[in-house]
Symmetry: C4
Subunit: 235 residues, 4 copies
């Protein structure tokens, strides 16, 4: 029996909220403490984000699959895993959860709940970075799904840990997180004007990886219902 949809939506909401709280909150803490050293601040931000992903996918994955990312839900629907009728509720929960995560981070650090970011992230190099970052993320997810590996949470956490550093955009790779981060004028922020092209690049990268893996692993759609991790069995 599948988990009921409400429980799954709640899990996507909570997981996305914690994910964004981790990204934004650790960015605030890191910038406050790092004394101006950007590498040290990003390193702390990276370690917190990667570790949060491991914990959150392990915790919420068994309920909802722990997509926590509209590109992942969309790609999974493309492969027949997530029903299209659930695609919108999933994405809405992720986006709304992400925004609440920004609120939570700001509240924990005594900041106004919302502050529009002035951090400019634009230009072809940034968009290419987001395309590659999300392409890689979906490669990792589809590649690991083949073995139904219990290692997926570690694969995703490790991938994002690396991608924070090897892309020029620090690898947002997630439209819900991107939207949530434009509401925070802190270390992890992104100027609202730069959000739309980030999201376009993210979907393009995710779809490209999904098409590629359909050819690489023809039997892939049979496992799409277990993305990111097997979930939904009651008991």
């Amino acid at each position: 029996m599948k988990s009921n949809l409400r429980a799954r939506i709640a899990a996507e909401f909570l997981g996305s909220a914690f994910l964004v709280a981790a990204v934004v909150g650790s960015g605030i803490m890191a910038e406050r403490l790092a004394g101006g050293n950007a590498a040290l601040a990003l390193l702390a931000n990276t370690i917190a984000t990667g570790a949060a992903l491991v914990a959150l996918i392990l915790a919420f994955g068994p309920v909802s699959g722990a997509h926590l990312n509209p590109v992942v839900s969309f790609a999974d629907a493309l492969e027949g895993g997530l029903a299209w009728s659930q695609m919108l509720p999933y994405a809405a929960a992720q986006i709304f959860g992400g925004i609440c995560g920004t609120f939570a981070a700001h509240a924990m650090f005594g900041l106004p709940l919302v502050s529009l970011s002035r951090h400019i992230r634009s230009g072809p190099a940034q968009y290419l970075s987001e395309f590659i970052a999300t392409f890689g993320l979906l490669c990792v997810i589809w590649g690991c799904s083949r073995t139904r590996s219990s290692a997926v949470p570690f694969a995703v956490g490790s991938y994002i840990t690396a991608a924070y550093w090897f892309t020029a955009s620090t690898s947002f790779a997630n439209p819900a997180v991107t939207i949530a981060r434009c509401l925070s004028d802190t270390f992890a922020g992104i100027r609202p004007a730069d959000v739309p092209l980030f999201i376009v690049a993210q979907f393009a990268g995710g779809i490209a990886a999904t098409v590629l893996f359909r050819w690489l692993i023809p039997s892939l759609p049979s496992r799409a219902k277990d993305v990111v991790v097997p979930h939904g069995a009651e008991g």
Copy 2:
């Protein structure tokens, strides 16, 4: 056959002592070496704490479950895992173990065994941080328990690694550890006057997560006896 209670209490005592020794000791070492860079000191403190949690839950979990935290024991008793009659011995072992951990850290670094902390940690932002930190910790524990995953030690270690950075309080999330840390006027300390509200916020967060997961995963109580990790089988 269950491990006898004495062995389980000893495991909770030892695990909590090592956990606090790791938190307090690594804080002392980090502050001594970091040359005034607080981000670097917290990063070392974080990595040591997260790694210690992985090792300690793996080591002591098979004996006592490795709660190492009165909120976890209380929540587990709420769900019918830990017998209420064992709740107090567990909590006492955790608190007394934590205090001995502070003593051990101080002794190893050549400091007086006890020194009351003057590190102020008060205000709504701090209490909200502790509420969210402990809420998240119990989400991770209950979420992972569903799959009896051998990944729980890694989930908890990863979660605390992240939460050190994304909460303004550096995520104590544990009343026994909080009490032990007020006895150390070092990097990881907390002023005794701030302890009570930290503990209130921690219990509130833990109970909220437990109630939530009872709804998210109705079959959860059947696995409560295996929290944090399966334990107690002799052999």
Copy 3:
């Protein structure tokens, strides 16, 4: 049924491209942010590389084995795992993939696609470092293959994380990566003139470890087809 060769070659190409993009890209980001502190830059570079290896071996391993390294493919062919007829396509995909990885990293950071490195890495200490680094890498791979452990991606990622620091050459340990890195005049670069002896040392170290493990574990060749991780089963 084995994965068809085209899919496996594509996986080696993609995996090697992402590996080099991670090495070169994180080096660029780290150097830009580190404010001249070489230890901090190398630490970020290390964490990104180790984490990328974990993710990439988990993702591409089930398709092609995730050799991502001509020395690994050669050693595996020596042991009867990889057919000799596939050795050249594997190596070509790794080298060409690596070069494209350098291009991708440069494009993401807004640099010219190619810039010959002027980073001198020569002398006996450097070659000895590469011999030992690759010797150790193959020890780890052959040692783990015995138990068909799902831990191999973590073993390789951990090994390279350590070897970045314990060898004087920062452990290239991979001819495809070495070639790709000579095309980047950035943090991770190597002067083209130094490449040939690096590659000689890498093959020597890899062959030495393979010969040693044939004696240590006589039954090893029977598992060579599952190196680095089991792969090729369709389904």
Copy 4:
């Protein structure tokens, strides 16, 4: 059939050599690059050591158990795991391997093969640190052995990662490594005069933990032959 003793001794030799090379080599690299920041140098040294332990135990464990430490071999012999007749060959291989690891690290960094350390590490706080460090290490090993967990390599690597920071001595916890490190007048060195009491404290801590766990887990000796990880089965 057990692996023949020669293969096991070779594995202990090689594993110990790589372990010390990782400790000493990463210390040299870290000190050279860290620009005088001791916290940053120790962080790099820590990450390299912890990661090396994970990789080496995974790689050499299936052959010899990956004790890599005379205290572990002694404690395992106490519990009936290692035959007493093999205790001396194991310890000799570990000590000789460790010394060769120092040689290798020095050679890779272009230093004289041997240089007696002048790094003073003496006094009760240091000895207490070594007692606690080794006590904890054996707790972790015995605690994990109960579940024959494939997580032991990660538990040991995580424990040492933490113990580098929470003990005042940076947790040598290993007589073979201690001897090898007195031959290196670099970051990781220890003055030869301080070695004997370090070793006494290490054995005392290891024996205390072993006695404690015999009481905590009465069935422990039945698993002593699988310490640190199951090994010796040919095939």
